[in-house]
Amino acid sequence: MSILIEQLLNAVALAALLFLVSVGLSLVFGILGVVNFAHGVFYMLGAYLTFTTVALSGNFWLSLIVAPPVVGIIGALLESSTLRFIYRRPPIYQLLLTFGLALMLEEAVRLVYGPTAKPVDPPPMLQGSVALAGIAYPRYRLFLVVLGCTVGVAVWLFLSRTRAGLVIRAVAQNSEMADCLGADVARVRTLVFGAACALAGLGGVAAAPMTTAYLGMGIGVIVDAFVVVVIGGLGSIGGSMAGSLIVGAAQTWGAFYLPETAMVIMYAVMGAILVFRPWGLFGEEE
């Protein structure tokens, strides 16, 4: 029984991390109509910036404040210098463009940080474990769950309850109409793209103490995030959350019971869902 609870908690912690990454991917698709292949690289950038911040200041909490905005600004600059010009093209060109950006960023990170992985220690407060329902549970994973839930609620409240969120939803529904009604669509897109990159960066910060910062972590996470949004449906926060939980559960239980074939379980779940709902659990039918 305690093993079951422990696995469940591990699955939720992994899901929280996946959610931080996939929610931005999903929002950019829902609002800009772009699948951002570079999203995983921004996650990686967040992890590397955490390494730098901790190395310079010795304070993990500082990186939580510093890294996401830096990643967001880089994302916003890239959007306004490249992606902005090709929104009218078929969506494939935007995917390819972000793929090119991903290659450049990945290589730039290799240039700056070199090929070896960079370890990051969790802050003292989050080291060790707490007793929870009769089991010792790592504090850091608990922190991930809290962070994931907080971000999920914050994004949802922002989009549904604020005026800025209203404008963003208007652009998502009909960007030309929103433009006619006086919304600065180009600016909204840049800000949303930057914010989504910042969320990916935040995911990277949160992941760094668990996984270290390493090259290739971006592609690993983007494939998982793709599976999450395919299961949950693109453009929906609830879908990202449900998809993250499903993928987190499939990976955790898969790794526990069938270590050699954990990947197979994730894809089997995805395949099963696609047969019945090709547009995902929460997505809208095309």
Partner: protein, 310 residues
């Protein structure tokens, strides 16, 4: 405007003469270019003619490479048998993957193909007994064309095998896209909804072209294994799938010949840059990003546009 038949003749003559002019390592590079070109051309079938962007095409190249390597190493069959095995395995695996992936369209299709490819990559990586894991399979021999037949061990002989395969594949693919089936694919690309409302189901068409593309990618992989003498998980990695997309876009999407030229351009840029810096990917990425923004038709598309204007 030079007629395209003349271009084809010039290209064929050039392919026949060039190996006698080039140095040994240049010939080897050219063989590499042609194999990559075949891979990119097969991707263009689904990407350019049907509008389905696969982000996992390298998986079929890799399957072809592994099948070919295993046949050559363990059964010591002539090279054409290995080529057949590679193409068939790639096509066979593409049937279930295509069946699932073509349920989705557009971006979902791209993500699904990527996910399946990463899955196949993981299988190749973990199935040590069969694939050698991360080491891959080394020492793949270049067996003769048939038993008692001409040897393929010399660079020239293997070059001509590859060139023949690429030219024949190009003709077959051209015939496919010009057939009624190919016209249907282009109709799906232009307007899938209208295609459906005319009473046709697009999914069987998409599945068939997906499998055809996988067969040619498998053939390219099956040539790659004996040419390089190895097969390893890297050839199945997503990076190679993405490079295939870059080759198609750089050369000209939906032109078949363009992707072959795009592959040449891509590898030549890489060859030149990598002698100056190990971080050549930054510049290749930059060239690609600029081409996506300013030259969406690629080399061939832009040349045709200029030709039509002048």
């Amino acid at each position: 405007m030079i007629p395209s038949r003349l271009w084809a003749l010039v290209a064929l003559v050039a392919l026949a003469i060039v190996p006698w002019v080039l140095a040994r390592h240049q010939l080897s590079l050219l063989t590499d270019l042609l194999i990559a070109g075949l891979f990119a051309m097969s991707l263009d079938l689904i990407m350019g003619y049907t509008g389905m962007v696969s982000f996992g095409h390298a998986a079929y190249f890799g399957l072809g490479a592994y099948a070919s390597a295993l046949v050559l190493l363990h059964f010591a069959q002539p090279v054409p048998v290995a080529l057949l095995a590679g193409a068939l395995l790639a096509g066979a695996v593409a049937v279930p993957v295509g069946w699932f992936s073509t349920r989705a369209t557009g971006i979902y299709f791209a993500m699904l193909t990527l996910a399946f490819a990463q899955f196949l990559y993981t299988v190749a990586y973990k199935w040590r007994d069969l694939t050698g894991g991360s080491d891959g399979i080394a020492g793949v021999p270049k067996t003769p064309l048939f038993w008692g037949g001409p040897s393929l061990a010399s660079p020239h002989a293997f070059y001509f095998l590859v060139a023949t395969c690429v030219v024949l594949s190009l003709f077959v693919c051209r015939a496919v896209v010009r057939s009624p089936f190919g016209r249907a694919l282009q109709a799906i690309r232009e307007n899938e909804r209208r295609f459906t409302s005319l009473g046709r189901d697009p999914r069987p068409f998409k599945l068939v072209v997906f499998v055809i593309a996988a067969v040619f990618a498998g053939l390219a992989g099956a040539l790659f294994a004996p040419f390089r003498g190895f097969a390893s998980p890297e050839v199945m990695f997503w990076v190679f799938s993405g490079q295939g997309l870059m080759m198609v876009v750089m050369g000209g999407i939906g032109t078949l010949v363009g992707p072959i030229l795009g592959a040449m351009l891509f590898i030549l840029i890489q060859e030149v840059l990598s002698s100056y810096t190990e971080h050549w990917m930054i510049f290749t990425g930059l060239v690609f990003v600029l081409m996506v923004i300013f030259l969406p038709g690629g080399v061939v598309g832009t040349a045709r546009r200029l030709g039509a204007r002048g």
